[in-house]
């Protein structure tokens, strides 16, 4: 045996010995920030422990639009295997042929998902449910509000923070307000809601709270606002008792994040294993306990303490928002906000 052969043999052995540890890498694109912190701890790390031959790279991006942009750019040679994004963006991606269909053949857990987790024309399935909540600063609002109507209270003029449309928090508020004002089906008209929001406008301090809506309310720059439950619950924990979160008596609407399988992705089979894991009742329960997103798997067993901090206890009051239909009327709603709501707050 020549020296070269020995060398080759040894390095081949070393290579063979080192690779099985991470045979495949799944690249998961999802929200950066606190979502990433909690998802890595509650889902990604336990997954890698259970599947030592698969490595998951979490690629954090600030929003769904940026994920879609990246997927578009990589369409011919995808680098990302799995994406967690908002359902309406997932619909756009499906329309552009970026995703493979996720059904029972990909994961048996799909059969146990709530009906709302599977939308017509969307190849991904829901992995988290979130809902709009009323936020308040506990120093400035002494008694916890129970109704969305607190936002209209003249006492808080100039102290209300509302992320306006095109942000979907504004869209969700439009649909809730429309129902409160006695409006009919939001898919036909949100006229009643737009009128009532026009009366809210003079109270509004900012329509574009930065860096997000939770910070100005926690630090007292604003007294009241609207935001997403899961993030609000996490920030309520870390705000030192300043940020209050309420699911108002009139109910609320859901926001849906879907998990999607990228078409022609480099590690499709490992990606399917991960998606199956993400939809399992145990995983769903773990993430709900960690970040208070409501589970999408009907078999997930959640502790009462965590359940009380999601919308799961108030399902009868929730408005079923058909985000695919809303995508079709979104431009019209945006136009109404810009012409008839925001100008009233100048």
């Amino acid at each position: 045996m020549t020296k070269l052969q020995t060398l080759l043999g040894v390095s081949a052995l070393a290579f063979a010995a080192s690779t099985p540890a991470f045979a495949e890498t799944v690249t998961l694109a999802a929200y950066s920030g606190i979502f990433q912190d909690h998802y890595v701890k509650a889902v990604v790390e336990p997954f890698m422990k259970a599947h030592p031959n698969i490595k998951v790279e979490f690629y954090g991006m600030p929003n769904s639009a940026q994920m879609l942009g990246t997927l578009r750019a990589q369409k011919t040679a995808p680098q990302i295997d799995v994406v967690i994004m908002d359902v309406s963006v997932s619909k756009a991606g499906t329309d552009e042929g970026l995703f493979d269909k996720i059904d029972e053949s990909v994961s048996k857990n799909v059969a146990d998902l709530y009906p709302a987790a599977r939308a017509e024309g969307v190849n991904g399935v829901a992995v988290t449910f979130d809902n709009l909540v009323l936020l308040y600063n506990k120093d400035q609002v002494k008694a916890a509000p129970t109704s969305w109507n607190a936002l209209w209270d003249k006492q808080y003029a100039g102290k209300v923070a509302i992320p306006a449309v095109p942000d979907i928090q504004g869209t969700t508020l439009t649909i809730i307000t429309n129902k409160m004002a006695g409006g009919d089906d939001y898919k036909k008209s949100v006229e009643a809601g737009i009128k009532k929001l026009g009366e809210l406008a003079p109270n509004v301090q900012t329509w574009d709270p930065k860096p997000d809506v939770y910070a100005p309310i926690s630090n007292g720059q604003a007294s009241l606002g609207i935001g997403w439950n899961a993030r609000a619950q996490v920030y309520a924990n870390s705000s030192g008792g300043k940020l209050g979160v309420v699911l108002p008596q009139e109910g609320s609407g859901f926001q849906i994040n879907t998990i999607n399988l990228v078409k022609n992705a480099p590690s499709s089979s490992a990606a399917k294993t991960f998606i199956d894991y993400a939809l399992k009742p145990e995983t769903q329960a773990a993430f709900t306990e960690a970040m208070f997103y409501a589970p999408t798997n009907s078999k997930a067993k959640i502790s009462d303490a965590a359940l009380a901090r999601t919308a799961a206890g108030a399902m009868d009051k929730m408005i079923a928002i058909d985000w695919i239909a809303v995508a079709g009327i979104r431009d019209g709603i945006t136009e109404q906000w810009r012409r008839r709501i925001i100008p009233l707050s100048r």
Binding site: N63, A65, Q66, L68, D95, Q205, W207, D208, A327, R338
Partner: protein, 294 residues
């Protein structure tokens, strides 16, 4: 030059000229290439995107339609947006000029270490990112902030200084000041103190000296600074986004919303091309002004 020409008689000249053209091409090639790849191609791509069809929900369909362009000019919202962007940017440019001019003039007249120190002071804000400086303004202009409290202490009902156009104008003016001051200084080359002294000696009062002598001599610097600040004001979006409170609709913030939030890339592309046209117009005005000054 003439000494060189006589030392190396005629035969050397054509070779030299040819060599110069060759050198010029060789020197220009890299930047031309970088510009073609990094600017011209993406702009052409944007132009193509502006004719695609936006689907409800953010999808893009390859097409060749004019509706993005016709929709823009048929919609009063977008016309207002264009007028608003241009007028707010012009206002910011003028304000920046007014507050920067005295500083630049003082800097131009100072000398030695003092001048170096002052120049460093003027440039130092550029070392901090615009985001950080804008957050600084948020702290200063907030409802419970020092400026509003000071106005209230005088017994006047304080106006809203933030989350409206006022806030955007204040923030952007401060952020653009270093660019204006540096451009003014660069254009002050023709301002000779002896000319001012001559005017004063001949009996011109200070105000007249300023209007008739100093200002005309500094016009090139003013034109350059105004062009630079206008272009930066039209294209800046972080400061309007943070200080506008969602009430101030400008082209740059609208492009961001359409590209990142609504996912209407064709409309975002159309608006981007429109901004480019506005820049072209600003450059044309600048060239015209320069010709008039000369």
């Amino acid at each position: 030059m003439s000494a060189v020409a006589t030392a190396h008689p005629a035969p050397a000249m054509p070779r030299l000229a040819l060599g110069r053209t060759g050198t010029a091409v060789a020197l220009l090639l890299p930047i031309a290439l970088i510009n073609a790849i990094g600017f011209v191609l993406p702009v052409l791509n944007l132009l193509r995107m502006s004719f695609n069809e936006a689907l409800a929900g953010g999808g893009v369909r390859e097409a060749f339609i004019l509706s993005n362009w016709t929709g823009l000019f048929g919609d009063s919202f977008y016309l207002e947006l264009i007028v608003n962007s241009v007028s707010v940017s012009l206002g910011i440019t003028f304000l920046t000029l007014v507050v920067s001019y005295p500083i630049a003039l003082y800097l131009h007249r100072s000398s030695g270490r003092w001048r170096t120190f002052l120049t460093v002071l003027v440039i130092s804000p550029l070392l901090t990112s615009a985001v950080v400086r804008t957050y600084g303004w948020i702290a200063l202009l907030a409802d419970q902030g020092p400026i509003v409290s000071a106005i209230a202490a005088l017994g006047i009902t304080p106006p809203r200084l933030m989350f409206n156009t006022t806030g955007v104008v204040i923030g952007l003016t401060e952020i653009l000041m270093p660019y204006m001051i540096l451009s003014l200084l660069a254009g002050f080359g023709r301002l000779d103190p002896r000319v001012e002294e001559a005017a004063m000696t001949l009996g011109a009062p200070p105000a007249k000296t300023f209007w008739r002598v100093i200002l005309p001599l500094t016009l090139p610097g003013i034109a350059l600074g105004c062009l630079l600040c206008f272009v930066l004001a039209v294209s800046s979006f972080i400061t309007p986004k943070l200080l506008g409170g969602g009430r101030v609709f400008l082209l740059a913030t609208e492009i961001y919303d359409q590209a990142i939030v609504t996912l209407n890339w064709p409309l975002a592309a159309t608006l981007s091309i429109l901004v480019l046209v506005i820049f072209g117009a600003a450059l044309a005005v600048y060239a015209r002004v320069l010709r008039v000054i000369e």
